[in-house]
Symmetry: C2
Subunit: 213 residues, 2 copies
């Protein structure tokens, strides 16, 4: 089973690495990291690079596509090679997935028209503008073979749900134990439903999706 | 504030990237990735490399040290440059931290003698052999300025707790919301206290810490 994770400059590292760490542990999983131009891709703040070993054209038909988000998603959307690869890969894929604003890339490729999907909570309007039926209150959204996860850390939950579908509950449970994924967040502010509204407003105002009013 | 994440071949990617994604979001945080020999470091299964931009000697006194684990931890332990750097960096650090089997590196550097510390649940005996007071039932353990996290995903919780100490609760709460860290694991098998014993036994038997009986 070939699982391709798309990389691009200014991606969010955890969007990509969370699902990677889960999915690679499935028996028979062959992971690969792909980019329009192979090589190191700087993550959002610039301090870390993740390396894409393979060009997109070298991995045309992966079984599973994983698309992370990050501030570089906008430039990636403008790269015809990325959009075309997503469209063709999706035709043959078993699952096409995204984490965080990676769903905007799926949307830009025309894959989310009329589909239920999610994204980082600041990006739901942008997702809607790309034709999706944007879902604000589900952490992981399945619609047919498209699976979209909410912001950043939701990719871990998404990948464990996907591993359950692909390899069965027992395998996913073993992966969860091996990753010691028994979360104990120190605060209870991980969603807009739980965080103080002022905190959400502060993040929304600083986000690249904020609109001048 | 300089935050150095140690990289080495066959590290676990999520051990490093979970804390990175949290800590980099603190105002004034300067992240850097360091290694005995700078350059790309292959993660455990080989499909992904993370790039260390800096040599250890170029970052001698970081404020915060983050040490991930992974199967390459054993080779890293044997590299005198890594051990010496950990010892010297710890003398000056504000916090010295580890995720998963990264605590074995701290132990090998002699930093955990008589200290309460944790590690991946399969590695607690190995941690004890390095002189630590191994703690099996806490996900994140603080002892003085040393903070050790349990397996892989525990690094995210550790980093949010550390961000609370370093930058205050409100900053940590904002980071948690921005990462949308409101976990919804699909199974309830993330710790040995919750998972079926047979599942734990299967993972323990396959781990590199398994002993011939």
């Amino acid at each position: 089973m070939q699982i391709a994770v798309l990389l691009f400059d200014k991606l969010n590292a955890l969007d990509a690495v969370g699902p990677y760490e889960v999915l690679r542990a499935m028996p028979g999983a062959g992971m690969c990291f792909v980019a329009a131009d192979p090589g190191p891709k700087r993550t959002e703040c610039g301090a870390l690079s993740l390396v894409a070993d393979h060009a997109l054209h070298a991995v045309p038909r992966p079984d599973v596509v994983v698309v992370p988000g990050g501030s570089g998603e906008l430039d990636a959307r403008a790269d015809g090679r990325v959009i075309e690869w997503l469209q063709r890969a999706h035709e043959a894929s078993q699952w096409t997935t995204s984490v965080c604003t990676g769903s905007l890339l799926l949307g830009a490729a025309g894959l989310l028209r009329g589909k239920r999907a999610t994204s980082h909570w600041t990006a739901l309007d942008a997702l809607r503008e790309l034709g999706a039926d944007a879902v604000s209150d589900e952490r992981v959204v399945f619609d047919g073979k498209i699976v979209t996860a909410a912001g950043v850390s939701a990719g871990i939950d998404m990948a464990l749900m996907l591993a359950t579908e692909l390899a069965g509950a027992e395998v996913a449970q073993a992966i969860q134990l091996d990753l010691e994924y028994d979360p104990q967040p120190p605060h209870d502010t991980g969603s807009t439903a739980k965080a103080p509204p002022a905190l959400a407003e502060q993040i929304r105002a600083a986000s690249r999706f904020a609109r001048a009013t």
